[in-house]
Symmetry: C3
Subunit: 439 residues, 3 copies
Amino acid sequence: MAARKHDERLHDRQFVRTFFTSPTAVKGEDDSAKMIRSASGLRGMQAPDVWVPDNEDATAPSMRDEGVENIIEVVAENGADFPGEIHPRIVWHRDSPATRHRGLNHLFEIADPENGAISHIDGFVIPEVGDIDDWKKADEFLTIVEKEHGLEEGSIAMSVIIESAAAELAMGSLRAEISKPSNNLERLFMLVIGEVDYTKDMRAITPTGDLPSWPEVRHNTSRGASAAGLISVDGPYDDIRDVDGYRERMTDNQAKGLLGIWSLTPGQVVEANRSPLPPETGSWLLDVGGYQVELDDEDGVQAYYGDRLSLEETASGYVLRDSSGERELDAEELHEELLDRTEYIPSMGDIVDSMEEFEAAKEAGTGAIAMERSATIHIDGVDVDISNDRMWDEATYQAAQTPITLFKDVYEHRPDQHEELAEMYSEDVVERATNVGKA
Amino acid sequence: MAARKHDERLHDRQFVRTFFTSPTAVKGEDDSAKMIRSASGLRGMQAPDVWVPDNEDATAPSMRDEGVENIIEVVAENGADFPGEIHPRIVWHRDSPATRHRGLNHLFEIADPENGAISHIDGFVIPEVGDIDDWKKADEFLTIVEKEHGLEEGSIAMSVIIESAAAELAMGSLRAEISKPSNNLERLFMLVIGEVDYTKDMRAITPTGDLPSWPEVRHNTSRGASAAGLISVDGPYDDIRDVDGYRERMTDNQAKGLLGIWSLTPGQVVEANRSPLPPETGSWLLDVGGYQVELDDEDGVQAYYGDRLSLEETASGYVLRDSSGERELDAEELHEELLDRTEYIPSMGDIVDSMEEFEAAKEAGTGAIAMERSATIHIDGVDVDISNDRMWDEATYQAAQTPITLFKDVYEHRPDQHEELAEMYSEDVVERATNVGKA
Amino acid sequence: MAARKHDERLHDRQFVRTFFTSPTAVKGEDDSAKMIRSASGLRGMQAPDVWVPDNEDATAPSMRDEGVENIIEVVAENGADFPGEIHPRIVWHRDSPATRHRGLNHLFEIADPENGAISHIDGFVIPEVGDIDDWKKADEFLTIVEKEHGLEEGSIAMSVIIESAAAELAMGSLRAEISKPSNNLERLFMLVIGEVDYTKDMRAITPTGDLPSWPEVRHNTSRGASAAGLISVDGPYDDIRDVDGYRERMTDNQAKGLLGIWSLTPGQVVEANRSPLPPETGSWLLDVGGYQVELDDEDGVQAYYGDRLSLEETASGYVLRDSSGERELDAEELHEELLDRTEYIPSMGDIVDSMEEFEAAKEAGTGAIAMERSATIHIDGVDVDISNDRMWDEATYQAAQTPITLFKDVYEHRPDQHEELAEMYSEDVVERATNVGKA
């Protein structure tokens, strides 16, 4: 076996933004495959990076054999044209040999080349896994299915749902286990958190019945994925009406390196496809009483119109008031104060500009350069110009690349989104973004 | 040895709400056993699920041999009638062979059937454990004591105090270690955090000398317990006057699956016995400036009387003001806004109602139903009716069961609390709660 | 090999407050060693506990061979007089055999006794380590270098930068790995977090490009150090102007047991050398709307002059107003309310007083004593005397010792700071602090 590094990702996609599940068989409809048939037609920003015909929790237990038939029919027919990857979820449970056996039978049927679906399927999602020996059982079934169906060993990807404490702990030993000769765990692709069942397994309680936020399991999943060359994905966000909450969750996840998230509707897919990409335009934030408030851009002037911070020009200088009291400041102190209170969120174009500038400097032999950022801040009729330098060195440059690397991964694998990306960012920024970062 | 699943709990109790320690021997009293004699008489909500005659930190080192005699005397006399389990804490230290030897001698004496206490003792608590090999030393001592005293091997439960980094890490390998043939670690019952000594072992410092909140060790303990079929318990809350703080800590713990907590007084026992059980009556929360404020129920109308949010009816609609400014809303927008800002904390009766409703629907062949929740919100003289649907499917139903499963465990094992539970919830709700969830 | 406990620290220093890096070779200067030459002259509070001539990220790749020469020259000349330890950082990367080989060559050269530097060097810092097998490669190189250069095996300390998920996970198995006979990992000294590259390895994104706060990796590093008898150090704080932010970060770290931090300038060294030591004077905190506000000490009266809390004396008692509304209180209720809202941050002198008092009580046979703390709180012209008792027992006493143990470690190893410490705390407090805690 050739040497491999587990830090290298083995699969086509290096990033998965969206994991969209659809029930495979719905009772009481003329066409029980209605939901997956409709999902298979999604394109552009509405189409997920990974589509999951869900033959487990989203589908009633009595409908799951029919669900297998529906997956085969719809994927055989529409799978070739689907722009994302296809990873059906089958039934599995660490505590139920019968469920695992049923999962094996479903795998055999879906993966049968004569049924015409497997050539469009990238892998399978295994829910309710336990410790690493349980993961190996699913891996072994996939190996057997591959052998019996004449498919290349290890060619079917396997992703798991982390919804038990045992599975959370298993992620700590993944890097060592993947390289053992008696398994094909190199097929592992995504580690997906399943917070509903995890909450049940952990026996957690909240007064309202809402899910706990589980910061530690999200960290541990991101870390487990990073250490083993896999991709981490957060679980479903149930409150579909709450778009702001979904966005906040994604921002919080991204700061943990957890760049993918489950989507329950095409509307959530659009949000989640956009979220890890840099914004179209930059914006300024002002710290007001511990909150970050986005300033209104008015022809390049950044204005604050809230009532929690006020600024007044006096004969001798300025008076700045907030809920902690008032302070008299001279012009320089005011500049410093506003510099401390403001932050800039760069746009995609800004990031590309900075990277190009750093690359040019590096080529000219300079290892670190100052990136300047200026703005005019407008509060209560007073305008204050602020300007700040941030040093960029190799490490800053490398760390800034993640959203650009993600963008390039999207651009390479999702031509169906090119048009929308060009509309968002302009053709020029898109082209420069695909070229930057090769230094 | 018969196969076992480590996700299954091995002990009588599936839940421990309260872990109440009493000094075993107090200097300068006529009766040095006064504290444990008094504790052995606790009944009802004042009696803990687990009572710990504490022959370690709560008792002066010079009094600990006398403490052993006191434990034997009081437990032999009153243990049969004590409504909770009895788990004395003995001396132990990962770094001190002499302390461990003393612990062994104390075990031998307390567990001697001729002394009449061991038949009422469910297990022992081992403090200051280190890595898993240190846990095995304590387990081995219990095995020897069982053998020499003619007790069934593995019949004495063992619980440990997690108060070192080594012990925290050991919890990650527990699931695998428990099944090894050379130990009897299946006797493990509770993982109890000891934050004071943990803080010392980690060499942590806070400006005021208060304990750090240690969210990660609480997560890791809950996870370790869940993965190995054990029960997790948080450490003592020192500020006995601060009932609100104790309650907040328990709510935070419960969201981590850490359902038990140490209690230092019978008053804390009452709080901690009630805390993981659903409330007697439901209540509405309103989000005001990022805080959740409980609304006043006035004959079914939910009223807000604070001054951080105001609502005014105008000719064209409504004006809603808070610290971030004011917004004009029409009736529908106001409804949406209040829907977003409110949450409901269901009572025990509400949870039982919802579960019964879902069970009936499932029996009738429906896999998911909408649970409606309505209220009239009253702000500044304006009444607004809001109504929300929440989808319940199998997963929601399963996740909602934890407090009910806990209630049933309490109801089965604590007949001394039946009367108080019926007073809290009504006979009807109690009876229905014990019957729901068997579907 | 003699038995050892991994809870015992093996090195001279039990604590490292400051880890100060300097570029080893700067391009375009007459003296490319200028930065390390200047750093080697630091003394007193400006001198770090650990000085790191940084031949990795702080130095341009093309300058690193020259950097090795500079380290040798400057350390041979000035190393004997440097008051802290000296641990150069060499090049290393888990994914690059060529980089590791270059690191080996640099080690051979710097550690050559004929070059005169190694006798002043305490160890080396290895960046970009991966899993534990990668750490062993660096350890093996050090063993070979020691052998070939006639140095005692294991005498060169090794510290690592945790900047990958694999390295974070490796810390979980350190305790077991250190004791294996085929390595010399007992040489391990510091675990240092490198958040910039860790963020890149985890592929994390924040909107502004700021580093995530990574609470979990900080906990895991502190825990890994504690379980293996090592010292944990947090990574660099880039915003050098932001002294308040640096202090807040250190306070947060200290509550995790992470007592050391990287410093990028002598100014940061001063801050970081002082931060884990108790303050020179005590202060009172008042909880106002969830924030802890430090009260102004005016001749022993603790005054609040903010506008978020007001107090008024009325005919029948007092009215206390804050943003959540107003409450009427009688004198006793007001006393209770202020007691709940206040906390005291003890000075070094206060801690020494309390420890001496407890030690005296213990010697007299008392296991627990009440420490009283009183103050007069002044709000809106009303003076309220409050007084609180806190129980101190052996555990409180032990936990309170960490800052004193740290102080004693500093006092023993850093005579160059004696004068500044005596100025801060007075000769009397310094002397008593060095004598307390031996009970």
